[in-house]
Symmetry: C2
Amino acid sequence: MTGFGPEHLPYGVFRRAGEAPRVGVRFGEGVLDLAALALDGLLDEDPALFAQPSLNAFMAQGPATWSRVREALRALTAGPDAEPAAVPLDEAELLLPIAVGDYADFYSSIYHAENVGRMFRPDGEALMPNWRHLPVGYQGRAGTVVVSGTPIRRPRGQRRDDQDAPPVFGPSTRLDIELELGFVVGTPSALGEPIPIDRALDHLFGVVLLNDWSARDIQAWEYRPLGPFLAKSFATSIAAWVTPMEAVLARRVPAPAPDPEPLPYLREEPWALDLDLEVELSGTTISRTSARHLYWSAAQQLAHLTVNGASVRTGDLFGSGTISGPERDQCGSLLELAWNGSDPIVLADGTQRGFLEDGDEVVLRGAGGDALTLGEVRGRIEPAA
Amino acid sequence: MTGFGPEHLPYGVFRRAGEAPRVGVRFGEGVLDLAALALDGLLDEDPALFAQPSLNAFMAQGPATWSRVREALRALTAGPDAEPAAVPLDEAELLLPIAVGDYADFYSSIYHAENVGRMFRPDGEALMPNWRHLPVGYQGRAGTVVVSGTPIRRPRGQRRDDQDAPPVFGPSTRLDIELELGFVVGTPSALGEPIPIDRALDHLFGVVLLNDWSARDIQAWEYRPLGPFLAKSFATSIAAWVTPMEAVLARRVPAPAPDPEPLPYLREEPWALDLDLEVELSGTTISRTSARHLYWSAAQQLAHLTVNGASVRTGDLFGSGTISGPERDQCGSLLELAWNGSDPIVLADGTQRGFLEDGDEVVLRGAGGDALTLGEVRGRIEPAA
């Protein structure tokens, strides 16, 4: 079943030629049409819940509905003889699975944060003073979240290569990727009411791989004092398949204790996700890493995101931040893999890369053992307009 | 007509007790029910366009429809004998007028940016090197944009008052306001296609007063290196009434030339909006200023926001940034008015304020002469949870 068997059953939105979009579940090399299953009485839900252009109506039903549907789907797909009717993958156009409410992005891999600190502040501490006390993050642009396969046009913008000259305008010359996990909120919260950390996972519907495309030259010039803006807002790619939290949490493992112990609203039994991740660039695997390298968990991120009273909505998305491990070839960005262009990586065809070139194709992949293959995130760089 | 006559006609969403929300237009002390007017044949549009919980369906129709409706409404309301049927204001509950897509916030008043620079970087240049080259901005949280009148609960969060001690957690002790204009996008743009500056205003539907509530202590601790996050995300208040661009642009005036001349994608004939603005704090007017003090225009902001290929959607909102003038009592934040708490302002009752106290009520007001009164933005501070 190549990681898409009855233990996984990720949700997406698909369209057959000439038909309206509807919610589906990937099973093997096919897509189960949930609206059709509900019409046939194989799911106990209103078919209208699945005759939708996004998962949001389904996600808004809450955990009891998610469990009921998942159990019914497992019953349909489990067993050696199970052969539920499915739409072949090659007949299904995969659409953006969620209508994104707010998109926030964190910075929760300590190896990534240390690498960036060493690179850009060589004379200071690698980590900012706040880093070990809170999951640093920022709001990103929700309207430019796109589904895997969407071409990525190289952004144009201001950069200042020469610090003694005025800025120049043109296509980014330092276009990068960021390998991340994205967490999708299913159950909303009320304004003014923080989500306690021990309830945070109850609000999450699922997980996607996420590529936070980044223009490093634009970012370096624009980011003081209000953070990254146009360096990130041109596109963020997510997988077409949202892996349910239940499947993801089967890969939950203990993690090292944080140092120092965080403030009470961020305290929990340390855990991480044992998911293997990799980055392919134009046919060459350039990084193999793991979600275990994240210092802050999704529960800590959501507790922090709402501790000031900010609410979350069904369809909100938050990214883990670039996932890097302790070794150079375990990093989740070209910035680190090629050390800011100073140590280019070599592809299988012998060409070198500091940053992305036009025509490059990036694929993010992930797996939790044989039973769980995360939906891939694919994107090819098109020349600037 | 107290600024709500036939020259203004701002749009909002209202609800009468027991009825569904619908789109209305403020006229004098009443609200014109556009769904009812369309049903009666007094507007040439489908009534369903106005039987809506937000302006988005109407805004998505584009400028030709906006003009046609505005002309029809002016015909109904102009002339000394015009007395169109209206819902009395005190029978109309005013709701958030737009379903906000993405919310971005700029930093476009040079006086404000200089004040902040002088306060926090006393030994450096008041302005960051990028400030005069691009409209600095960041993405804010769309899901916590609330309508005028919504109570604002004091946020809790991490702060580090003592730089030699660990951070502490608790209610913000430096809660502030930011007086801004907010611009509402009506006409969307496509991903990968920047909006040229000379077309930018065509995409805008209207303007609201906006209060970007800010927790300065949370911000100071969290903002490096990714910018403000929880310091802002707990709430942003906007007016219930969206003033159409046509009414706002009647107050367009020439502005000083920027120095240096910006890059070509930001070049235009310099202009500003001649709108008088003021801040009232618990009954005392503490600031009188003007939108003329903005260095970057809404057209420059939108051209910048999309120059990297980022798209905009109907309902997107962007803020001007705090509007401050050259004098102390022309500033749009308490941070500046009370100079970071060092020079408290004195209210009419003799009490002093460095930052906001629980129970304080803030009202933002604006006007463009006698004909145009912007919808106010009101908010009272509730104690932390």
